[in-house]
Symmetry: C2
Subunit: 216 residues, 2 copies
């Protein structure tokens, strides 16, 4: 497939992916017609199909590119020799930075990925598992070093969830917090918890103690 | 509008909402045609419109009913005289129980609510804010009693996010955890944090201390 580039250096394929993310985010994957996608990208139906194959290819290509880039950036953090707490914070910052900078793509990947079928669904699922594993590895490292309490499945998905959910409520353009500030606040909840003091006593004077660590 | 009930006591309107949740969850709001909705509910196009008005009415009605019910159950918890920590746990359990028991509705409300427009979007947004406020009130109560560190906007959305995200990965039918177990594990992260000990030292021997509380 020819990869012609326009003046900004963006290839037709890249432009289609960018435009598709915007249209899918706004109208939903199922609600976006191929004619509308072509129009938004400035291509006739035939030319669009020449570049993408099918609407599902488009969803797959843009999701795959997005997750692969997140994976690549995350791996740099995980492979560093940072302290587990700092690694978790750095991963969180990477994650919220991505959500802030590429909101359309994130909306499409998080909201529409379930529309993929067959082999494409499996391949993207595998990529997302790899990304999830970055968080698992950092938590496991922390457990091994006696820093974190748990690295089980629910903990990993809880950490991803508290970060991912920001795609719903956080718009970096509106602020006032920067992506790093949002990431820091969220990951501080995960690291330190909400108890004002580990010996916070209830009204009834009882001690509040953390539950025993959960094995993976 | 007549509210005829079938043998199970379900009115036609209730049946339409139930069926619509299933179809919207599977095909997306934009991807679900009115003809398909009518067929799934066993109604002709005219009869369907007689009961619902429009597809957007349907999305609004089922989302509204869902959030109102969650609100009602949550208020019972918030108005109780439980300790703030127990209230937060009880709210979390209610939330994950709802996600587990009514997965289609939750998928539609969380994934498709953005498709509502105008007055309907505002009204549902107001209801969701009220629901969010239940979590804010419990956290504020905890801060006032010196139990919790913060009740600011990001904390409230963080708590909601860690719970909400379970709609993506948790399927109660597959288990192995019960909804209450999932809720407990997630809310324990929020309450106690992941540090094995408040004095967990890094490899470099440094002390890890919780950041200062954030004002709302």
């Amino acid at each position: 497939m020819p990869r012609q580039r326009d003046e900004s250096g963006e290839s037709t394929h890249e432009r289609i992916l960018r435009v598709a993310a915007e249209v899918f985010a706004r109208k939903g994957y199922h609600g976006a017609g191929v004619a509308e996608l072509g129009e938004a990208a400035g291509l006739k139906r035939g030319a669009l199909y020449y570049h993408i194959g099918s609407k599902e290819d488009l969803l797959y290509d843009l999701s795959k590119r997005h997750v692969e880039e997140a994976l690549q950036r995350g791996r740099v953090v995980v492979d560093s020799d940072l302290h587990p707490v700092d690694k978790l914070r750095a991963l969180a910052r990477e994650h919220v930075q991505t959500i802030a900078a590429r909101r359309d793509e994130v909306i499409v990947v998080l909201r529409e990925m379930h529309a993929l079928t067959g082999k494409r669904a499996r391949q993207l699922g595998k990529l997302r598992d790899e990304h999830q594993n970055l968080f698992a590895r950092v938590l496991e490292e922390g457990v091994e070093q006696g820093v974190f309490r748990s690295a089980d499945h629910v903990t990993v998905l809880g950490v991803l969830g508290i970060l991912n959910w920001s795609y719903v409520w956080y718009d970096a353009e509106k602020g006032p917090l920067t992506p790093d500030q949002v990431a820091d606040r969220l990951i501080d909840i995960v690291i330190y918890g909400e108890l004002a003091s580990p010996r916070s006593a209830g009204r009834n004077g009882r001690q509040l103690e953390a539950p025993a660590p959960v094995q993976r």
